[in-house]
């Protein structure tokens, strides 16, 4: 079983590398350093939110409220800024508020034992609604240039975007936790069988609770980055991002039923989706066609592993029958 999923990760990573190489050769202006910066900025929110999302989906749960948490922190960031708070206070405050949004999710799911799908669909609407209450249809835009410029800028004006440091550091931390610590192993155990994990001494509820808090905090951070990137605090910021994130995580080979998946696969999934969209857009493929391509890719990503395993199963059964006869 685990070998099969290892294969899927490798396949996605190989496919991503292939797409990157082909796009650089075939698509004009794809392989330039400026386009690299644009791509990193486009994948920044997806990749950061995907890190805790991977953890949550590995445990067999889901968090659909992330994009609304992002919108709420973006709104509040504008509101605080208008009310004279300093940006150095606002940024940590927004991350804490994101974490608090996660605390509510975590409490409802682990404290009251409600299903995460239902809870986070509810808070998806709730947090977006609150964001609209805070800022309405308005936008706050006059954030200081040294902050907005940092998010869109590159190291020393070169090819490496500043935010790439953030992505690398966070991806390393999450990757090490998931793949090289007991906490990481326990997440897989919870996802494979929560009851068995409980009897094995893993604090299932507590672990899940903290995952939601971390997910909220990261969404809060991304809300800040999003606001600074577009120099625009708005209630509708990031609408629909949760679907892009879940899509990338699943494409990266994480099982929606929990227990399986790896972070490198997820990172490849995010890069694959972003690079594909970027390349197709450079080739003037229309937005609708773009949606069709990504949609088809996702269906395939769920279909193919299942198809392969059932073909393998059939083949093995037939072999067994033959040897029996």
């Amino acid at each position: 079983m685990s070998r099969k999923f290892a294969t899927w990760d490798t396949a996605i990573i190989a496919l991503t590398v292939l797409v990157l190489i082909i796009a650089s050769l075939v698509v004009d202006n794809f392989g330039t350093s400026r386009n690299f910066t644009f791509m990193v900025l486009d994948l920044l929110p997806i990749i950061l939110v995907a890190l805790p999302m991977t953890f949550i989906i590995v445990t067999g749960e889901i968090d659909l409220s992330v994009a609304s948490t992002l919108g709420l922190t973006s709104s509040l960031m504008g509101w605080f800024w208008n009310h004279g708070l300093s940006i150095e206070t606002i940024i940590p405050l927004c991350i804490v508020i994101g974490a608090v949004a996660g605390v509510l999710n975590g409490f409802l799911i682990t404290g009251l034992g409600l299903p995460s799908l239902a809870v986070t669909i509810g808070t998806l609407a709730l947090y977006r609604g609150l964001a609209l209450v805070v800022l309405g249809d308005g936008a706050v835009a006059d954030f200081p240039f040294n902050y907005t410029g940092w998010v869109t800028g590159t190291i020393g004006g070169g090819a490496v975007p500043n935010v790439l440091i953030l992505i690398v550091v966070l991806a390393l931390i999450f990757g090490v936790i998931l793949h090289a610590t007991p906490v990481g192993r326990s997440l897989y155990a919870i996802g494979a069988n929560a009851q068995a994990a409980h009897f094995a001494g893993i604090r299932v509820a507590r672990t899940k609770f903290w995952l939601y808090v971390v997910s909220g905090a990261v969404a809060g951070l991304v809300g800040v980055l999003w606001t600074l990137r577009y120099s625009s605090a708005r209630a509708d910021n990031g609408a629909g991002l949760e679907l892009a994130v879940v899509a990338a995580v699943l494409l990266g080979g994480v099982s929606i039923f929990g227990g399986k998946g790896s972070l490198p696969g997820v990172l490849a999934g995010v890069v694959l989706l972003t690079a594909l969209q970027n390349a197709l857009r450079l080739e003037d493929v229309s937005g609708q066609a773009l949606n069709i391509v990504t949609g088809a890719l996702l269906v395939l990503s769920v279909l193919l592993p299942n198809l392969i395993s059932s073909i393998r199963g059939n083949w093995q059964r037939r072999k067994l029958r033959q040897s029996a006869a």
């Binding site: 004009d28 206070t89 804490v96 629909g240």
Partner: protein, 352 residues
Amino acid sequence: MSRHRLAAVLAATLLVAAGCGGTTKDNQSDSAGTQASATADPNAKLKEGLKIAYLPKQLNNPYSDVETSGGEEAVKELKGEYKKVGPNDAAASSQVSYINTLIQQQQDVIVVAANDPNAVCPSLNQARTAKIKVVTFDSDASKDCRDAFINQATTQGIGESLAKMALEQAGGSGDIAVLSATPNATNQNAWIEVMKTELAKPEYSKLKLVKIAYGNDDDQKSFQEAQGLLQSYPNLKVIVAPTTVGIAAAARYISSSSYKGKVQVTGLGLPNQMRQYVKDGTVKKFALWNPADIGYLAAYAGAALASGQISGAEGDKFTAGKLGEYTIGKDGEIVLGPPTEFTTENIDKFNF
């Protein structure tokens, strides 16, 4: 234990951050880079083969399709390469990736209707650094991140046009009424104010504005308000509706009543909605800016910018094909001109 420590660290961070008084709205120094404007050569020839890309608020919107169709026509006249791209949703930030793509494709001109005046700003400025000219239409971006803005109409122009049409249709004298949108609709109120100033002039002295009614941009309410106006003011000669919903509802009521032919309806309307009332004689004339002309003018403005004919500075002049000569106003604004008037003679030429 660890939880308490975490909370303490967070609280301390917040206190420190709050205490040391960092960058706030009031004390920030605005260091955003401003563009050095190039000098223009009014005699420069318009270049051929310019790549002009349109980025409307979102694709598949009938109104913006008409706007960009005018752009396509103009780009063809300019012997340039026309392109239209855009997101499927009108979210504030979804245009940015498209702008980035257009930068990568090294377009010469980007014509954009900004979903958010600020969210598109950093990428538009990146485009300008890459020597791409940026023209906004429909809804402007911040003025420091585009070269020119095509303004469809000025408040003054619309107010004057409404007053003029009312005078014509009333035959020079009589009672008129306004059927507006909501009592606090910004655009409508501004236009009505200009209209009132106009009515105070001597040539309008025989025209009497008896009532301003509000149909709340709701078809049924507007219909009832039109009905009410005629019952309360039997001598009414003209209803002026500066809203597409109001004018259509008023025309529908008049066309099915005994007032048809006696009371005129005019104002701002969409040709497709008003066609039948113009044909059956209920409406003689109404007005609106022509969306196709907005896209058309934007292409010529962009081409003039990219060819170095104009720099976007106030007072620069250029010729926009069939629309004639334009002068750039304050803050890089180019006003399309007085609204187009639609009558039974020309209405079949418009489809929007």
